[in-house]
Symmetry: C2
Subunit: 211 residues, 2 copies
DNA sequence: GAATATTTAATACGGTCGTTTCAAACAAAT
DNA sequence: ATTTGTTTGAAACGACCGTATTAAATATTC
């Protein structure tokens, strides 16, 4: 008696999907539950029934988006500890970029997270602790493997920030204006960006290694 | 008959100031004209009288914020063409960082612009053309002076993006979580970040120079 | 100082949005 | 088949917000 699905597709999941799309496009404030219900083809009350309120729907949507994108593009990017640190760095960067630039369903993640970074909601705090900070430390560890573990910890973390900053910069829409007028980066283009950031960063790290 | 100031401080300017603060804090959607009027200690109708509507007030606020921050921290950062390109790069980075990290009045700029990048309004397009893109080209030119003017233009632009990305990354509030729990970077800290980004980037560019 | 233009004040309108309500439709259990 | 629990549907409530209105108050000009 737990699940009584009249319609084929679960209403709850349809809402979650529509919410991902609309929250990504409009942001939390501008998005309306009416739009979400319209796109999900459910009644207005369904949102209240399944999620309680808009805020909780957003919370679930965000967690779902994070889950999907990290599932599709794991932080290690397929590289293992056996690989050279430079290759692990490249895989890390590539995964990061695809996570925020990949079109399709998991692209919600990039947009929603970008908004969160600027205008954080309470949801972000737990995500930082559970997902982003551990992921940050993973990057720090890769960098330490490159520059040596004897370097000043703050310097290493600054380098991690430099790498993440580069990745994030390519994630937002308007900076693309400087490069091309396309709305999206094609996958080949993302590979090219991966190459650039990897090369740029490894060069920088190599110089630090020598200090 | 142009100006009839009953109160000492111009109401229009008080609104502009309050709007800068509130738009920066809340974003366009969440900010209410009532809050702005309250903080500016003017009547609700004043916003309509002086600016027409909320959207136009935002437009003026944004342009004002850009003007203030670029006035306080000019793109060249005091460096001239006579300086070494590496020094001009450092000055550029320093100005950029202070523009978005400086506390006080011009800090609105950083927050509002950060929001604009994620969720652009029509105002941004003209700003990009008039301010940001020319500023981007200035950076490109500095980079060319470092790596040589014979390099692939896209590579150079990617390098510019890498540098701007690093700067922007330190501008938002939540990444600071990874470094310290302070709400703001102290000025000395900003100098330290300037040092890091400059060193990191010059190392990377030097390697490209050798290709 | 009277006439005119400008600015401020108080209030209300119209619309949108999140949420609630309550009954109907449906599925599961007995 | 009846009962019980779950899900959906249509409509409305209540609050908030941007904007408009209108008159009063204040400057400016002659």
């Amino acid at each position: 008696m737990k699940k009584a699905n009249r319609t084929g597709a679960n209403a709850r999941e349809r809402i979650l999907e529509a919410a991902g799309e609309i929250f990504a496009e409009c942001g939390y404030q501008k998005a309306t539950v009416r739009d979400i219900c319209g796109k999900a083809a459910v009644n207005l009350a369904a949102i209240n029934y399944h999620f309680g309120d808009k805020e909780n729907l957003y919370r679930e949507t965000l967690r779902n988006a994070v889950f999907l994108s990290y599932q599709k593009y794991p932080p290690d990017g397929g590289a293992t500890g056996a690989d050279r640190p430079e290759d692990r760095l490249r895989a890390y960067i590539r995964s990061f970029l695809f996570r925020i630039l990949d079109p399709g369903r998991s692209a919600w993640f990039g947009k929603i997270i970008s908004r969160e970074i600027i205008e954080p909601t309470p949801v972000l705090d737990s995500l930082i602790k559970e997902v982003f900070y551990p992921n940050f430390l993973r990057l720090v560890s890769i960098i330490e493997d490159i520059v040596g573990r004897d370097k000043d910890p703050e310097t290493v973390r600054f380098c991690a920030a430099s790498i993440l900053g580069q990745c994030l910069y390519f994630g937002n829409s308007k900076t693309r204006f400087f490069f091309l007028n396309k709305k999206r980066f094609a996958p080949e283009k993302i590979e090219g960006i991966t190459d650039h950031i990897t090369r740029f960063s490894i060069n920088a790290l190599a110089a630090i290694n020598k200090t």
